[in-house]
């Protein structure tokens, strides 16, 4: 029996959009911290990183809302209990690490009460120093949470590929919007 219930189109779209943005933010973040003072990117890269990061936070909230509205497909029958637990744990941790990144990122730049300009569109107000050595602690947390998130994304993707290529089940197809996949579709994977 094949599980055909898929994610909603909005969930699928947002999932892949966030995947792209997470990698983009990680890449930019990794690169921008080593920019020299005289680099033309020195000011604009962090500004974009912060602005796009804020948009990702909005998308994160939207994902939670969509999850409440649409729910998620029940596990495939072929999924082992341990796999289901591991997948749920990974999903929860992905959300948690992203939340941790949003908060820590915010705390780095607002430790002196400065606002964060989002795309020159509006200013996200700063709350000032909420605890001692805020900028440094938040910076360290942000760095390691980002490494953790990327590591987890790799595990998450490896799991999806394992189901797709080895188990040849519909786990990955559900998030690609292929509600009734045929075995022949597997070759057209993008």
């Amino acid at each position: 029996m094949t599980q055909t219930k898929s994610y909603a189109k909005s969930q699928i779209l947002l999932h892949w959009l966030m995947a792209v943005v997470v990698f983009g933010l990680f890449g930019v973040g990794f690169w921008m911290v080593d920019l020299t003072y005289y680099s033309e990117w020195y000011r604009i890269a962090p500004h974009w990183h912060q602005s796009v990061g804020f948009m990702l936070a909005l998308a994160w909230v939207a994902r939670i809302v969509l999850l409440r509205i649409h729910g998620k497909p029940s596990p495939l029958e072929s999924h082992k209990p341990a796999e289901i637990r591991a997948a749920h744990f990974t999903h929860a941790l992905l959300y948690l690490l992203m939340l941790c990144l949003f908060i820590s990122g915010y705390l780095i730049s607002t430790a002196d009460g400065r606002a964060i300009a989002i795309f020159n569109w509006f200013e996200l107000p700063g709350l000032g120093e909420l605890f001692a050595e805020q900028a440094d602690i938040a910076g360290t947390v942000h760095q390691y949470a980002a490494y953790g998130l990327i590591a987890l994304v790799v595990i998450h993707a490896a799991g999806a590929l394992k189901h797709h290529l080895i188990d040849k089940d519909d786990t990955l197809n559900r998030i690609l919007g292929r509600t009734k996949p045929q075995p022949s579709n597997y070759d057209q994977e993008q």
């Binding site: 003072y37 780095i108 730049s109 430790a111 050595e133 900028a135 440094d136 910076g139």
Partner: protein, 190 residues
């Protein structure tokens, strides 16, 4: 008579320390002392900042300026340029390296009196783990009873250091190689 002469000699020795320098504690408790820095920004302007946490003592007597001494310990983590994100960068390995060298110290080795109220304070400045002799051009501001039953003496001083002398790679442009230091030191007599 011999006994009297001896007693007089001892008395004279006991009296002579009257001209000995008085010892002062720098009034950081009431924040009547400031350690500030100024560095070129792009060659077009300056960034100023200060160290908020430091402690020190000095001894000083107008009648024997050359015997004066001063000792200062600066908590480099307390750097404050009125911008949390910049201060985070200043504390990092790019500049102050505070995780490795959280303290900077200045210990005077020689006082060279100049004109009235002006003197050079020569001493060893340990900064970023490097000890180098620097000279502070000092000026006495005044001394006397304070309104609360204490006795105070105050000085100002200026000096300059080159970043490269203290193993700090200058990444801010050629004009930023030299950092001007300025001190306001008010002591309360012990």
């Amino acid at each position: 008579m011999k006994k009297f002469a001896l007693a007089t000699a001892f008395a004279a020795m006991a009296i002579s320390p009257l001209t000995q320098a008085a010892d002062y504690v720098i009034d950081t408790e009431g924040a009547h002392a400031f350690i500030q820095f100024r560095v070129s920004h792009l060659g077009y302007s300056y960034v100023e900042g200060r160290f908020n946490t430091f402690a020190g003592t000095f001894s000083f007597d107008d009648k024997n300026v050359a015997a004066a001494k001063i000792e200062l310990t600066i908590d480099t983590k307390s750097v404050d340029s009125n911008h949390a994100a910049r201060d985070k960068h200043l504390r990092s390995g790019d500049f102050l390296n505070v995780d490795k060298h959280g303290k900077a110290t200045f210990v005077s080795t020689k006082i060279v009196p100049k004109t009235a109220g002006q003197f050079d304070v020569v001493g060893n400045f340990t900064f970023n783990g490097v000890t180098k002799e620097i000279t502070i051009n000092a000026q006495k501001v005044g001394e006397g009873q304070d309104p609360w039953g204490g006795y105070r003496a105050g000085f100002t001083g200026t000096s300059a250091i080159n970043l490269s002398d203290f193993a700090i790679k200058n990444i801010l442009g050629p004009k930023a190689e030299t950092v001007a230091l300025s001190f306001v030191v008010e002591g309360v007599r012990k």
